[in-house]
Amino acid sequence: MDKKNVRKQIRAPRGQTRRTIVQVAIAGGLAGLGLAGTAPFGRARAAADAANWPKDAFAQKTEADAIKALCGGKTPEASDKVNLDAPEIAENGAVVPISVSTTLPDVTSIAILVSENPFPLAANYPIPPGTLPMVANRLKMAKTSKVLALVASGDKVFSASKEVKVTVGGCGG
């Protein structure tokens, strides 16, 4: 009986300390999050840039309209200086590795379009000076389609395209 009581007494404070430790840890974690949220860049920066997200171009449902919205009336010229690296056959349309690089000078942006997707424009990368005109990413493809890379260089737009066969589409269904 006495022993039991002693044990209880020992246990209770131990339990409490553990709880306090957990509480402190949680509070610390939240404080950390709060700090991250108020950091000068990071959140503020990305949020500011969300306004620049090219909503129009991403909303277009055909390749031609997306190009129009993106290039502002310029017609892309096919160029062998734009290097589009994509697989011949993609077994899984949900994850198709695609990379674009170019040897053209003064590149200001790179865009990747998948013609047969519900929204053809997949990604658009503005390239600031000092950043190499090369990007690699992974895209979803609904079905076998032409993949088009657009590179804005100087005041012209150049393109390269490749047909990628998709065995299993990346749009569920």
């Binding site: 991250a36 959140r43 969300a50 090219p54 997949a122 000092g130 690699a136 992974r138 979803k140």
Partner: protein, 103 residues
């Protein structure tokens, strides 16, 4: 809390190669769940990489970017040990950021 962002930036000479992975569902809005209901679109719209207070790379993404997106690019002018800040914001306004070291 673990960050949603994983980054690897390696400087060799003048050029820094950056590879980043973000954990995000990137729902396109065309996929149905087990009950046959459409899963609403939920995807990252903007990812921004900053070095020394200056944006070095920006990605504008649509719903066609794969789940848990991967990105690779290179830029010039950074040194080993410099900080690289990455932040993203999605179409629901959620956001995350991380400061990584260039190796």
């Amino acid at each position: 809390m673990a960050s949603t962002i994983r980054i690897r930036a390696v400087a060799s000479g003048d050029t820094t190669e950056v590879q980043a992975l973000v954990q995000h569902p990137m729902d396109s809005g065309f996929v149905k769940d087990a009950q046959g209901n459409l899963i609403p679109p939920h995807y990252i719209e903007v990812v921004e990489f900053e070095h020394a207070g200056k944006p070095v790379f920006t990605a504008y993404w649509g719903p066609a970017v794969s789940k848990d997106p991967y990105i690779k690019f290179s830029f010039k002018g950074a040194q080993k040990g410099d900080d690289l800040t990455i932040s993203w914001v999605d179409n629901k306004g959620a956001t995350d950021s991380l400061v990584g070291k260039i190796q």
